[in-house]
Symmetry: C2
Subunit: 225 residues, 2 copies
């Protein structure tokens, strides 16, 4: 019974953390680095595309991540992975990989009815190299980032060898509007700053987004992708 209560408490914390991260206001689609950073901070998970060198094919794997505690977005992408997972094996063998996050996945409403493939339903693919975190100081930062957003991780089996990784970002490929993909240099991505959440901004955000999506839908059919 006590274990169940602990689990429910952990779930409750995780839900609260998620809500707090989601309060950061969505930047305009023209603010490419900021919007990439916003999506990286708001989402809870994504897909790592890794290279299976044995079978010579790219293989995706779902992974939770965090760029910092709910009130402290950093842009640094931390993961907590086990070598029992094929994705971990692939990135260890071939660290060049990418990590994809879609606005459509944000709970509870994603892009509010806009098709997930639509350009205005933002998506980022972060290109870089996945590195195992060896330093204790860096591991502490990763733990603070991850456990504040994924409370359940603290109960994951100790004998499964979970350790911290960081995706070192070289560039971000982002589609967030008509007109084609933007390539954001890693330095721009890391340097961007998000406007902090505010009670007023948070309350109006969903309304603004719904209006924007309704107005923007293919712009009468004449706008370029």
């Amino acid at each position: 019974m006590r274990a169940l209560l602990c689990l429910l408490a952990a779930l409750s914390c995780a839900t609260a953390a998620t809500a707090a991260a989601a309060d950061w206001p969505r930047p305009a689609h023209t603010e490419h680095a900021q919007l990439a950073r916003w999506l990286a901070h708001t989402a809870q998970w994504g897909t790592i595309s890794a290279w299976d060198a044995v079978n010579q094919r790219p293989v995706g794997g779902v992974a939770s991540f965090s760029d910092g505690p709910p009130d402290s977005p950093t842009g640094r992408l931390y993961f907590y992975l086990t070598p029992m997972d094929e994705t971990t094996q692939h990135i260890t063998s071939y660290p060049a990989c990418s990590f994809t996050v879609a606005e459509a996945q944000l709970q509870p409403n994603g892009c509010s009815g806009t098709d997930p493939e639509d350009p205005t339903c933002a998506k980022i693919t972060v290109i870089g190299e996945m590195q195992h975190i060896a330093s204790a100081e860096e591991a502490d930062a990763a733990a603070a980032a991850l456990f504040s957003r994924h409370a359940a991780m603290q109960q994951w089996p100790a004998d499964h060898g979970f350790t911290f990784f960081e995706l070192k970002v070289t560039e971000v490929h982002m589609l967030d509007w008509y007109g084609g993909m933007h390539i954001i240099p890693g330095s721009d991505y890391y340097a961007a700053e998000l406007a902090p959440p505010s009670a007023a901004g948070s309350g109006q955000r969903q309304q603004r987004r719904q209006w924007r999506v309704q107005q923007a839908l293919w712009g009468g059919g004449s706008a370029a992708r």
Copy 2:
């Protein structure tokens, strides 16, 4: 004004189709091929992991898909892609790829609070080869599958060269419970049959899932991943 009404009608249809697909009852975690098929039928989008042969790195891309109209799951994975998208360019150059779908992404509640990386929050990575659909008959099947689930696609710009693709499935990597990943042969995946939706089953499904998730959470910490 008429264009706006058409768009709103299309959005309404898309939402209805999504709800209908989501009514198919979730198979037990022990029914691996069926569960993979359920996730492939219920989800609206996923991440294609493709090989960027020029830069020698795997790159993910978000894509909408469909395995059939809401009432007709087939397991065949259809896509509607434009050559203006880097993912399309990569798979055209190197067709071996994979496609990842997470139960966590299902709207509105994903895995109902379970961490997306938790093994019980199901995820599939479909391994195979992406093929352009050249035959008119096959293109009709792809159109029926896709447009019934993604009504907006019918309004996508004609000059963007969207055409149909199918991911020919050779195997599915699925994590849906403790104890490690299952590899499902493509033949088993295609042969599986889903239990059809029913009013009673649909109504009870969410309650059963919530109970299952609460009971299953790491099984007191002793279960293997």
